[in-house]
Symmetry: D2
Subunit: 365 residues, 4 copies
Amino acid sequence: MKNTFGQNLTVTLFGESHGPAVGAVIDGLSPGLTVDQDFINRQLSRRRPSSLLDTTRQEPDRFQILSGVFNGHTTGTPICIVIPNENTRSGDYVYGPARPSHADYTAFCKYHGYEDYRGGGHFSGRITAALVAVGGILLPALEGLGIRIGTHILQCHGICDRPFGQPEQDIALLAGRSFPVLDEDSGERMAACILEARSNTDSVGGITQTAVTGMCAGVGEPWFDSVESVLTHGLFSIGGIKGVEFGEGFGFAGLSGSEGNDAFRMEEGRVVTVTNCNGGINGGITNGMPILFQCAVKPTASIAKPQQTVDFLKGEDTELVIHGRHDPAIIRRICPVIDSVTAIALCDLLAGRFGTDVFVKGVSL
Amino acid sequence: MKNTFGQNLTVTLFGESHGPAVGAVIDGLSPGLTVDQDFINRQLSRRRPSSLLDTTRQEPDRFQILSGVFNGHTTGTPICIVIPNENTRSGDYVYGPARPSHADYTAFCKYHGYEDYRGGGHFSGRITAALVAVGGILLPALEGLGIRIGTHILQCHGICDRPFGQPEQDIALLAGRSFPVLDEDSGERMAACILEARSNTDSVGGITQTAVTGMCAGVGEPWFDSVESVLTHGLFSIGGIKGVEFGEGFGFAGLSGSEGNDAFRMEEGRVVTVTNCNGGINGGITNGMPILFQCAVKPTASIAKPQQTVDFLKGEDTELVIHGRHDPAIIRRICPVIDSVTAIALCDLLAGRFGTDVFVKGVSL
Amino acid sequence: MKNTFGQNLTVTLFGESHGPAVGAVIDGLSPGLTVDQDFINRQLSRRRPSSLLDTTRQEPDRFQILSGVFNGHTTGTPICIVIPNENTRSGDYVYGPARPSHADYTAFCKYHGYEDYRGGGHFSGRITAALVAVGGILLPALEGLGIRIGTHILQCHGICDRPFGQPEQDIALLAGRSFPVLDEDSGERMAACILEARSNTDSVGGITQTAVTGMCAGVGEPWFDSVESVLTHGLFSIGGIKGVEFGEGFGFAGLSGSEGNDAFRMEEGRVVTVTNCNGGINGGITNGMPILFQCAVKPTASIAKPQQTVDFLKGEDTELVIHGRHDPAIIRRICPVIDSVTAIALCDLLAGRFGTDVFVKGVSL
Amino acid sequence: MKNTFGQNLTVTLFGESHGPAVGAVIDGLSPGLTVDQDFINRQLSRRRPSSLLDTTRQEPDRFQILSGVFNGHTTGTPICIVIPNENTRSGDYVYGPARPSHADYTAFCKYHGYEDYRGGGHFSGRITAALVAVGGILLPALEGLGIRIGTHILQCHGICDRPFGQPEQDIALLAGRSFPVLDEDSGERMAACILEARSNTDSVGGITQTAVTGMCAGVGEPWFDSVESVLTHGLFSIGGIKGVEFGEGFGFAGLSGSEGNDAFRMEEGRVVTVTNCNGGINGGITNGMPILFQCAVKPTASIAKPQQTVDFLKGEDTELVIHGRHDPAIIRRICPVIDSVTAIALCDLLAGRFGTDVFVKGVSL
C-alpha cells in the first residue's frame, strides 16, 4: 500500500523535507485512549538533533493534531498529525548530480524528474519525525497493555554496548538516557567516534538492538504475516536500515540445533524458555518471551568529502561535494524511530488478533 | 493478509503437512505466459530431499493445476496448484510436549488446540513445496523480462562459499548444481559437516546469498513498500529464516560513509555503481545494479537428542525425544524456496509499477 | 485484491466453468468451529439446477476440503475447498462471436485471447458453487453468534412475493423451501412465468430481498468500509446483479425526511427503531435492527433466440444463436449465492471489529 | 481499510465537522500531473451551500496542499490536502438524544462515547469537502486520458430530469450549471420543491445519475473487483446513498433477456453496443461504452420537526427538536461528491491495470 503501513491499525505518511509539512494519519486505534501531548513532545525531542553528534538543522517540531482526538482522548476515527517544516535551506541543494548511497538517482528513475529533490524530499529522514509523533500516541497505548519497547545502540563503528540483559529493567534505564546505551562508558566512546567522523568529514554506521516485553503469546501468522515479516516490512522502510535479525540472527549460522533450540520450562505457572535465541518468536508467532532484534544501520550517506558520481540529467560523470547540514551518524536518532515502527507493527498485529477495541479492553486469550 | 502475500500479484498458501494436500493460488499474473510443467517439476526436485543430507520423507510432488491455465498458457485468472501429500506417517507425532524452537507451543496459544499438529501442520516446511511450484511459474515470467534469480549457500556452520562475483554467470552456474554452492570444494566440506551433524543426532544452520540480475531501476517505494520491505515480508515467513541483510548489511556497522557509499559512474550510456554495498537498492528503490541479500537460516529445530521442554496440555516440565523424519540441515533445500519468494515479491512490485500486463508487454520507463 | 474478498476474513476464488475444478480458500476463520459436510451439501443443493426452471447441466458438486479442517473442526489456517467439474460439454462453445450481455468481449479485451472461453470460463455462474460451499461453512459460524441470513425472490418479471415481515420467522420459513418465496402462490406464478420464458427461448430477471437478523449494533465504518460498502463490494461481483438498495433504497426518492427517518424507541431495555427504512444501518454502521437489502438481477444473458452481435476476432458483424445449456432465470439459484456473499462480508466485518476468535468467543461490546 | 479507499491509487480521509480541519491523503498518483488550484476551488464551490436550497453554514474551504506537489506538478509521493473548519457552532449540539436516521446512536455503539459528536463529527457531510478536493486533482488526471464524468439530479421527490441522452454533450452541459440538471425546467420545479420542504421544516430525497465517457474496454475484475464492486464500495460510503444501480438496474426485473441484452455492432472499426442496458459493464469489466449508474439519496436526516427518539445515555425515550443549520436536500451538493468518488474508483482501477504512470503515459491495450 505504498505510504500506508498496516492492515487493521494503519499509518499513512506524507511530506517532504522542504515542503510545508510532514505528517501522518493513524487509523484503526481504539476510542478512549489518552493522548498525552507532552509525551509526544518528549519522543520528538529524543529524535531531534541535540549536539555536535547530529545535523545542525534545528526543527522545533511544533505538531498539530487535526482530527481524531476530542477532549484529550482518541475518538476511534483517523488521527492526522501535522508537523510543519520551519527551518529549511533549500538553496543548499542542486539537481542532477546523484549523491552516492542516496535516493537521488532512483527517485529520478521513479518520478521522472518531478520529485521534490530538496533535502531528499520524501526520502528524507525528516519524514521520520511524523513516525516518532505516531509512536508518541501508540507507545502509551501499548503500555496500557503492559507492553514496553526500548532500543539502544548495540554497536557504533566497532564500539559495542552490552546487549539487553534484563529487558524490563534495561528498557526503563533507556527511558532516562539522551544517548541510548546501556553502558554509559561505551556511549562516551561512541560519541567520541562520531565526533571524529565529523571532523574527518565522514560518517559512521552501527547496529541497534530492540527489546519488547509484555507481549502475549499467540500473535502473528505463519504465512505471510509472521511477526518477523510485519516488523521488518516496517523497519526496512526506514532509510539507512540494511539488515534486521531476530534473536541470534546471523549467529545461528555457527550454531547447532542443540545449541540454538530454546528449551521450554514451566515457571510460576507460565511457559517460558531458558534461552531466547529465537527472540521471542517461534514459527512467526510470539511465544511470550521478550521480542529481540537487531538492525544494521549504514553510515550516513551525506558526507562532505568529494565523491565520484554522475550527473543523471546530463548523463555524464562528475565530482560532487555535498553541502547542507547532515548527521555524522544517525544511529542515535534512529532509535526512537525504530521504537515507533515497532509500536505500529505490534499495534496492527494486536488489533487484527483481538479487534479494534483491544487497547481499551485488553487482551484475552 | 495472513496467508496471502502481495498486492498486485498475490499468492495465497494453504495446506498442512499431513493433510490431503498443500497448494497455492496465484492471482494477477499476465495472460499469455507459457506454463512449463517440466520446469515446475525441476524446481520441485531442487527442493526435494535427495540424499542423507536431507529428511527421509520422500514426496513425489505430483502437482495438479486446477485453474488459470488453458492450452499451456496463463489465462490471467487465478492459478490454483495443488500438491497432494502422499507419504505421511502421522503416528510419529504426539500432542502436548512442545518441540523446542518449533511452533507447537505458539500454535497452541493461537489456535487453542484445534491446530493440525501432525508434522508441524501448517507450519511445516512441507508447505514450501507449494511456494516452489509457484516459483516454477513466476521465474520464467521474470526471465521473459531478463530478470534472473539465484541463491547459494554462503555459509554452513562456519564453512564458507565464495560470495557472488559476476552475478549473471554465477546464477547460470547455480542452475546446474544440485548442491547450490559456487565453489564445489566448499560444498563438499559443507556436505561432510551436515552428515556429521546427522550422525551426532544434531543439526546445523547457515547463511544463504541471493542475487537478482536484470532488474530495471525505479521500482519500489520509499514508504512503506521499499524493495527491502516487500522482500523481507515474504522471506521472514519462511520457517527458519531469522535474519536478512542487503548488500553489506551488518557489515555496514564497521564502515564509514566514504567506504560504504557506492560511487556512480556512466558505463556504456548507463548509470552504474562502482561498488554495490547497497545491494542494488537506494532509498528503497532499485538502482539497476544486481540486488544482493543474505538470509540467516537457523539449525533445523527437529533433532533426535533428548531435550528439556514442557507439555503444554498438562502444564508441566518434561523431556522430549523427537522421532519422525527430519533434515539435519535445511540450508540446501531452502535455496529454491528463497528464489520463489523473491520471484513473488519482484513480480508483485513489477505488476504494481507497470500494470498487470507487464510480463507480456515488458517494462517501459 | 482481484479474486480475494475481505480483509480480516478473506475468500479467494479460482476456477473456470470447463476446467478441472472450481474452488475457494477461506482464511482468517476462528479455530474450533464445527464443519458440517451435510450442511455444505444442502447449501450446494439449493443452488443446483433441479427442474425445467434451470439449466440442464447437472453437476454433482462433490466437494473436497484439502486443508484447514482437522477432526471435523476448523484449525484456524486456510480452508481450501475444491469442487471438480464433472459434466462439461466444451464443444458447445465457439470463440469469436460475443454473446450479448456476457463477458466474452470484455474478457477478450482484458485477457487478449488467452481466456478460457468455454462456458464463460472464470465468469461463469459455475464459480458460484464455490461461493456457496464457503457459505456452507460461514453461515453456521454466524448462526453460532445468533446471526441468521435469508434471501427470497421479491419479484420475478413483475410477479411479486410479499416483502419480509417478521424477518426471524420468515428466514426460518425460507430454510424449508426449495423455491425461495414467502408466499407460495406467488412462487407458483413465478415458476410458470419462468417456464414460459423457456418455451419462448427467452429469459427473465427479477429482484431478491435479503434479511439478516441478530447482528449486533456498532459494526461497520463510516469511511470507506460502511456495511453497505462491504456488502455491495461482494454482491456486485455476482454475475447478473446490476443494482443493490438498502431498506427503502430507491423508494427514498419519493419520501420526505419525516417519512423516511426511523424513530428510535426503548423496548425491553434495548434501543430499536419503529420503522426500518434504513435497513438496519445508520451512517454505515449497524444499529441492531435487521439488515435489509434488495438486489436487481438481470435476465439470464444466454437465450436461444438469434441475436445481433460481432465476431471480435474477425472484427465484423454477425448473427449468433447460442447453444449449450442455460437457465431461463437465475433468480432462484442466485439466492443461496447472495446468502453466502452476505455471510462472507459480515464475517469479515465481525473479525475486523472483534478479532479472529470472534466466532468462538462471541461478541462483547 | 477503514478510512482508506483503493489499492493502487488510495485516498485516506480524516477530520470531524467541528474539529480543526478535514482533509485527505492521495497516494499512488503519477508524477508530473498539473495541479490546478483554481479547478479545485471550482469543484469545492459546486459542493458549497449557495442559497436557501442549502444549509446556512458557510465555509470558505480554503484548502492547503501540504505535500506531494512541487512546482505546480504532482511529485508521485502522497498529496495531503487540508481544509480548515472555520465556521463552526458547536453549541448547537447536545449529546445523548439520537437524531433519527443519523449515526449518533451507532457511533455511540462503536466508539463508546468518545466520538466527537458535534455536527455529526466524522460522519458529517463536511468530510465530503475533502473528497471533492481530491476530485479536483483526479478529474483532470482522467480528462488527460479522455475520460469525463458528470452527475445530474435525475429525480427529486418525484420530479424527474431527463436521463442522459448523448453523455459526452450532456456532461459538457452540466459543467456550466450550478444546479445540475439536464432540463432546466425540471430543475426549477425541483428547487421549488426543496424550498417547500424547507418551509415545512422537512427534507426531501432523490436520485442522481452519473455518466462516464471515454473509458477504455477491458478494465475491472470478474471476482471481486468488478467495476460495479469498486464503484459501489466508494459510493456507499457517502452518507445518504442507500441504493446504486447500473444501466437498467432495478428495471431489469421487468425485462426479458431479449429486451435487456445489448446487441454488439461494429461502428467505425470499433465494437459498440446498440443499447446500453448494462451501463457499459459486462461481467464486471468495461466494454468501452459509457458507464451509467444511478444513486438513491435519502432525504436529509436533520429536520426541524419534533421527532420521537431515545436518549441513549439515559436509556429512555425522549422527543427531539434538532437545531443547527441543515440542508433541506443534499441532492444538489452530493453530485460533485459522486463525481469525485467515481474518479477515485476509476483512477484506482486504471492504476492497477496499467501501472502507476498511466496518467502521464496513457493507456495501451
